[in-house]
């Protein structure tokens, strides 16, 4: 047995991407954004994560490109350090230790060697007043440097990085807090304060929320709580300042930003509409609506081609400057409360949970990527605070993944509960779920549980769904053929059961689908699923049943239940008696679909513990204390594609499936036995990016050669043929590819050189054992345009490209002809070897 490795709790899915303003690289090829303790580098073209900059030990609060060297990035964090990175290679260059919690970071182009940061006044957690200071970054070659040379600039300012902005060429800094705008001029060392009245007759709410400075003019834009945007001018006079108002937003303006040239202003807020104001006028505005959720931050790329908006639902949208969405970087959607719980899609093994409002998100855990969002509610989402929206509350798949049941509800104080159940069928052709049946008000009150009957694929049983509701009923829904003429299938209610009109809390089918357990308050009822007869009842007073599940495989004769007064009970279905019970405040009870194991997460005071046990054995074989501080809301076992061999016997239960848990703060946790180093092995991400770049015709030509070379090299490792030079290294190709098109000579002139460079030299060719067969149309081949030759190269999969590089650039005409003949021959026999 290998050395005993402790089980570690690992967070997956990453942290929020919208923690701070994202930054573009100078050429807008990369987007840098903070994600918890990391900084992530994304490619703007492919939306793929290129690097993860790790090193901070607390939340990263701000990032800025180094104005002196735009391949470098400064980041600041709550851990009190400023780090300098080379983000193209993902290397940490320098660390400056400041020693205060840093809340924001600003850099100016001309102030070399000093940065501006926002720190709390007293360096405490509780402190709620902050100050803007400038720090001199010492120029020493050391890796880690102390930077203690702080000088106060502004006192008593807002903590948010959005509340402070630097003006044109760093002449002034503007900061907002509450009802005041502070402008500090560096040269005059003067601070102007502009107050606004708190409320007016019209119910305006003038609190500042964000500020931005015009890059070319003396103009400050500020966003307010009531949705107004004010453009301040002439603010170097304390009295004769002016401002104009732009009003479109109906709710808080979350962020404003000027474009690079300053001719347009961008703003966004709760409405999730990106508004572009041209020339600062109220009438010339353009919209990009329906961005999905509240816009938190807006940033602009230095070359002005892209904007990007960070959203509350863990999403970054990259927008072209003509307001077309060009890319979306979407993490695990963490916007709303997860009511559906964690569900596994049996088809893709993806994790399914609430996504965008009214959507189900399918999240691939292997690649940590969102697969897609399924629109369940199919209603226009109105982004407005305080609206009672239709929520998706329940979702369940059947064992084959061919049916999906969802429940949505809308609750309002004034209007009665609106419930809707939808049944979706998986369409093989379109590879997506299509709506089959919609049931209005399946129950009179909230639906508490929903489960499909498990059936084998061979068994030809009608698909059956059970819903339990607070109206004291459980209903059995069956797939029936509803009309005699057309073979259309739809779901209808087959049986309604109740038990003394107690509200039903949960329901569960046994593994073979023969028994249904439904809990009514304190009583568990067991029903025969063929005749829908009540078979027996169990009770463990006093305490309402919270969770219910049947044992699996060899333990299928046991039924487990947890009560809200802290008991875990196990009943034997054969003897109809309580097998064992234990005092444990179980929050989540989750069976492993592939083994007998059952995981129970209990909540004690302020930490959660995990117990893994088998129903036939009241003693758990794995106890994991202190899984996390927050309350675990949901848990699920996800079957692994390949069984993993876990060394320790104690952790055998993780072999075939993996346990995922979702906490109240919507962190997705799982267990890993690997050490942190193992997990963080650098992947071949760089390669992945290259491969996923958009395909150009030249890439098709050259990339194919390269791949063939690689495969050939692998195949003919033993032979003496050695690839020495890549084709694109030849001067002709370089010339062709790197010279701007408008200065190049005509294509017909270039092509012969280009093609020559691709040809095979005679010496090497002889080793290829050429067959005598020669095509007759060699004369014609000459007349053909050179593109055709290129094309034919692409078509012939097995060109002997390993010789390409060693071509002597000059060949006699006869040789050339000969070569062309050879190139046109069928080389498929090579592949056969």
């Amino acid at each position: 047995m290998v050395a005993h490795q402790p089980l570690r709790v690992v967070r997956c899915g990453g942290s929020k991407l919208s923690g701070a303003r994202a930054a573009f690289s100078a050429d807008a090829k990369y987007l840098l954004c903070t994600s918890g303790d990391y900084v992530k580098v994304y490619s703007t073209a492919t939306e793929e994560c290129v690097h993860i900059l790790q090193g901070h030990t607390n939340l990263v609060t701000g990032i800025q490109l180094n104005p002196q060297n735009h391949m470098q990035l400064y980041s600041c964090s709550l851990d009190g350090t400023i780090k300098l990175w080379d983000f193209t290679d993902g290397i940490l260059i320098k660390t400056f230790v400041v020693g205060y919690k840093l809340f924001a970071l600003y850099m100016l182009a001309d102030s070399e060697g000093s940065v501006f940061i926002i720190i709390p006044k007293k360096n405490e957690d509780a402190s709620d007043s902050f100050q803007l200071v400038s720090v001199k970054l010492p120029k020493t070659p050391d890796q880690e440097v102390e930077a203690k040379d702080l000088s106060l600039i502004l006192d008593d300012i807002g903590r948010s990085p959005k509340c402070t902005a630097f003006g044109r060429e760093g002449e002034y800094v503007a900061s907002v807090r509450g009802l005041h705008l502070l402008v500090h001029f560096f040269k005059k060392k003067k601070t102007n304060r502009f107050p606004l009245s708190g409320t007016s007759r019209k119910g305006a709410n003038n609190y500042f929320t964000c500020v931005a400075c015009h890059p070319k003019e003396d103009c400050i834009a500020s966003g307010h709580k009531d949705g107004k945007i004010r453009l301040w001018r002439n603010f170097n006079h304390k009295r004769e300042y002016t401002f104009s108002t732009l009003h479109w937003h109906h709710d808080v303006v979350m962020d404003v930003a000027f474009s690079v040239e300053g001719n347009s202003l961008l703003s966004g807020g709760v409405e999730s509409v990106l508004v572009q104001w041209r020339d600062g006028s109220d009438c010339k505005k353009e919209f990009l609506p329906r961005l999905g959720s509240t816009i938190e931050h807006i940033s602009v790329s230095p070359d002005g081609t892209f904007y990007c908006t960070s959203h509350t639902d863990n999403k970054i949208t990259i927008v072209h400057s003509n307001l077309r969405v060009s890319a979306v970087i979407q993490g695990l959607v963490k916007g709303s409360d997860v009511k559906t719980g964690l569900v596994v899609d049996p088809r893709t093994k993806a994790l399914v949970l609430n996504g965008k409002p009214g959507h189900l998100q399918f999240y691939c855990l292997q690649t940590d990527k969102q697969l897609y969002n399924l629109d369940i509610v199919q209603q226009e989402y109105i982004h407005q605070v305080g609206l009672h929206q239709t929520e998706l509350v329940k979702a369940a798949f059947n064992t084959q993944g061919s049916w999906l049941a969802t429940v949505e509800q809308r609750e309002d104080k004034e209007i009665e509960l609106e419930l809707q159940m939808k049944l979706w069928n998986y369409d093989e052709q379109t590879q997506s779920f299509t709506l089959n049946t919609r049931i209005n008000m399946p129950h009179e009150a909230h639906i508490t549980a929903l489960c499909f009957r498990d059936t084998d694929e061979l068994e030809d049983a009608t698909p059956t769904l059970v819903t339990a509701g607070k109206d004291g009923r459980f209903k059995v829904w069956m797939l029936v053929n509803d009309s005699a003429e057309k073979p259309s299938m739809s779901w209808s209610c087959g049986f309604v059961g109740s038990y003394h009109n107690y509200p039903a809390n949960s329901c569960c089918f046994s593994e073979d689908g023969s028994l249904l357990a439904v809990s009514f308050e304190e009583t568990v009822t067991v029903w025969d699923s063929d005749t829908w007869d009540l078979k027996c009842t169990f009770c463990h007073p006093p305490g309402k049943i919270r969770n219910l599940c049947f044992g699996r495989l060899s333990c299928s004769k046991y039924l487990l239940g947890t009560t809200d007064n802290g008991f875990l009970c196990c009943w034997n279905l054969l003897s109809c008696a309580l097998e064992w019970s234990t005092q444990l405040n179980v929050i989540v009870l989750q069976p492993d679909p592939l083994s007998e194991n059952i995981a129970a997460v209990s909540q004690l005071l302020d930490h959660s513990d995990l117990f893994v046990f088998k129903p036939n054995e009241p003693r758990p074989f794995c106890i994991q204390r202190n899984v996390c501080r927050e309350r675990v809301q949901w848990a699920v076992f996800i079957p692994r594609d390949v069984p993993e061999s876990v060394g320790s016997e104690k952790h055998q239960w993780l072999n075939r499936s993996q346990l995922y848990m979702l906490t109240e703060t919507q962190d997705l946790l799982t267990f890993s036995t690997k050490s942190p180093e193992e997990r963080l092995t650098p992947s071949s991400k760089q390669l992945a990016v290259e491969e996923s770049l958009p395909v150009t015709p030249f890439y098709l030509l050259l990339g194919k050669h390269r791949r063939q070379q690689q495969s050939k090299e692998n195949a003919e490792l033993g032979t003496a043929v050695i690839q020495s030079q890549l084709p694109q290294d030849s001067p002709e190709i370089k010339e062709l590819l790197h010279t701007p098109a408008h200065v190049l000579p005509s294509a017909s002139f270039l092509c012969s050189i280009f093609i020559n460079s691709l040809l095979i030299s005679k010496e090497n060719k002889s080793s290829g054992d050429v067959v005598d067969e020669v095509e007759m149309d060699s004369e014609k081949a000459e007349d053909e345009s050179d593109e055709d030759v290129e094309l034919s190269e692409m078509e012939q999969d097995t060109n002997p490209t390993e010789f390409l590089g060693e071509i002597a650039p000059k060949l006699s005409k006869a040789q050339e002809k000969e070569l062309r003949k050879i190139r046109r021959m069928d080389y498929s026999w090579v592949a056969a070897l």
Binding site: L288, P289, R290, L291, G292, T317, V325, D375, Q378, Q379, E380, I382, Q384, G386, L387, H388, Q389, T390, R410, D412, E414, I415, E416, N440, S483, A484, E485, T523, L534, C536, T537, F538, C539, H540, P541, C569, C576, A577, L578, E579, W580, S581
Partner: protein, 518 residues
């Protein structure tokens, strides 16, 4: 990003019977024409010859009606007492009828007096018909006998007296010139062959037989008596094929439709049921005002005529859709303009530029998209009075957006009266009630200060109040009924409930014991 999602209009399941081909077919009749006769209509028979006049036997008269005539075009009234069973011959020129005095009379449909009179029965003759060779008449009477007559000589050929009670129905085989069937109150149906001295087959119906019918193929025999309609397989020697019990009173008449695919039965329970002759399931049924005694279908099912005990003749004509198609059509672009280029298969060298699919939003959706809530509500109130579900869906969408009150407020008299009219019409409909009650409450709240300024609106408010009060009364009554039914059901299921109780106590008792053990 994602495009605007239009308002979801809820579709509600159609309540009541499902729409099938049959319901569509049998519903396509015009509103019935009612003709009052002198007495109960005992027999209706269509002439096999166009224009398919029909003879109606009622009391002591036989009326002949044209297809669309409301008045009889001819009347035979030379009967001293009730006439029975006026039946056409195959050529439509002769008519035979039995009578209460026991005489069978033969009429020419042009003439007035009887051509022949066949005396021999001693009791009322309820059945008379031509055999399919056209030269013989068969009759059956309450003297338990059935006779065959030669038409020209007016002499009886054969007399069968096998029945032991009144013979009240009979029919002839269209295929065999000698075979006929009689049904009697002695619960039997007998098949006779004129060439034999005795009946060739007897089937036991079980109730007094009111009507018999042979299928055109002659292979199946249908008898009706009591509440049952029974189908017998003649070729298998009179084996019972199916017994139908779909009426709750005596079935009095049977009839096949022109294609032979559907069997119709009329009953004293005022219903005509239509069965499929393949599955013998009821596919449709008609409802009439009084008990039905006779029933006939015109060729091609053009007309359904039903005679009832109260002397009313109910005539339904088939609707014809042709008239609609003749209307001048609006000139529209030819079909090929729409499909132009659709079938073009892109060649290999073609670049395929896909045209973005334009989504057309409804007018109310366009208005909702731009947040013009009041206008959106106006649009659905005006244009979609025929589709209240759209109006209600828009109202629901407005509540979801929290702007329903804004949309309802600020209306003038005309706009408000449209809204009120909608409410009055649909507020009690269960599909819309939850939403519309809320709308009504809001309207009352909003417009309470201005009540009394407009008589139109005041009237509508009063009407709304009246409707709502009536509905409340209904609901209270229904609750009472429900309570009564619950009481009934409770007494029926008491036995089972007690067994459940036992189970439960077992479970409770057991678990603490186990607890102790643990």
């Amino acid at each position: 990003m994602a495009s605007y999602k239009p308002v979801v209009v809820q579709s509600f399941p159609k309540l009541g019977e499902k729409i099938t081909q049959d319901t569509l077919y049998w519903k396509s009749y015009k509103t019935p024409v009612q003709i009052k006769e002198f007495g109960a209509v005992t027999k209706i028979d269509f002439s096999p010859i166009p224009p398919h006049n029909y003879a109606v036997t009622a009391s002591s008269r036989i009326h002949i009606y044209g297809r669309y005539s409301q008045e009889p075009i001819k009347t035979f009234s030379r009967f001293k007492d009730a006439a029975y069973c006026a039946t056409y011959r195959d050529d439509g020129k002769l008519l035979v009828a039995g009578s209460e005095e026991g005489v069978v009379r033969l009429f020419d449909i042009i003439g007035r007096a009887a051509l022949r009179q066949y005396d021999g029965h001693t009791k009322p003759v309820h059945v008379a018909d031509f055999l399919s060779d056209k030269y013989r008449i068969f009759s059956a009477a309450d003297d338990y006998t059935s006779k065959l007559w030669d038409i020209p000589t007016a002499t009886a050929i054969v007399s069968y007296s096998e029945h032991t009670d009144y013979v009240r129905c009979g029919c002839i085989s269209k295929l065999n010139t000698d075979v006929f069937v009689t049904g009697s109150y002695d619960h039997t149906v007998k098949v006779f062959d004129a060439r034999r001295e005795k009946s060739v087959m007897t089937v036991e119906h079980g109730q007094p037989v009111e009507s018999v019918l042979l299928f055109p193929s002659g292979g199946l025999l249908v008898s009706a008596g009591g509440r049952y309609v029974k189908v017998w397989d003649v070729l298998k020697g009179g084996q019972l094929l199916v017994s139908l019990k779909n009426h709750h009173k005596t079935v009095t008449c049977l009839c096949l439709n022109s294609s032979g695919q559907r069997l119709l039965s009329g009953s004293l329970d005022r219903h005509v049921k239509i069965y499929s002759t393949t599955s013998y399931k009821v596919v449709h049924s008609f409802n009439y005002a009084a008990s039905i005694l006779s029933l006939a279908l015109a060729p091609e099912d053009e007309t359904i005529v039903v005679g009832m005990t109260n002397g009313v003749l109910n005539v339904r004509h088939r609707k014809h859709e042709k008239s609609k198609e003749c209307l001048p059509k609006k000139k529209q672009p030819a079909y090929r303009t729409f499909v132009k280029g659709r079938s073009y298969m892109p060649k290999q060298e073609d670049f395929f530029v896909s045209k973005p699919v334009k989504s057309h939003l409804k007018k109310y959706d366009k208005l909702l998209k731009s947040f013009q809530v009041s206008k959106a509500l106006d649009v659905v109130l005006q244009a979609h009075n025929r589709t209240p579900e759209i109006t209600v869906a828009v109202m629901q969408e407005l509540t979801r957006r929290g702007t329903l009150a804004n949309a309802l407020a600020g209306r003038d008299e005309a706009q408000l009266s449209v809204l009120m009219a909608f409410l009055i019409r649909y507020v009690v409909e269960p599909r819309f009630a939850p939403m519309l009650i809320k709308v009504a409450e809001m309207i009352i709240d909003i417009y309470l200060p201005v009540v009394g300024q407009s008589t139109v609106i005041d009237k509508q408010f009063l009407k709304l109040q009246e409707i709502v009060e009536k509905e409340i009364d209904y609901q209270a009554e229904l609750l009472e009924v429900l309570g009564m039914m619950d009481a009934l059901f409770a007494t029926m299921t008491r036995k089972k409930a007690t067994s459940l109780e036992e189970n439960k106590t077992n479970g409770i008792l057991r678990s603490p014991e186990q607890d102790m053990n643990n």
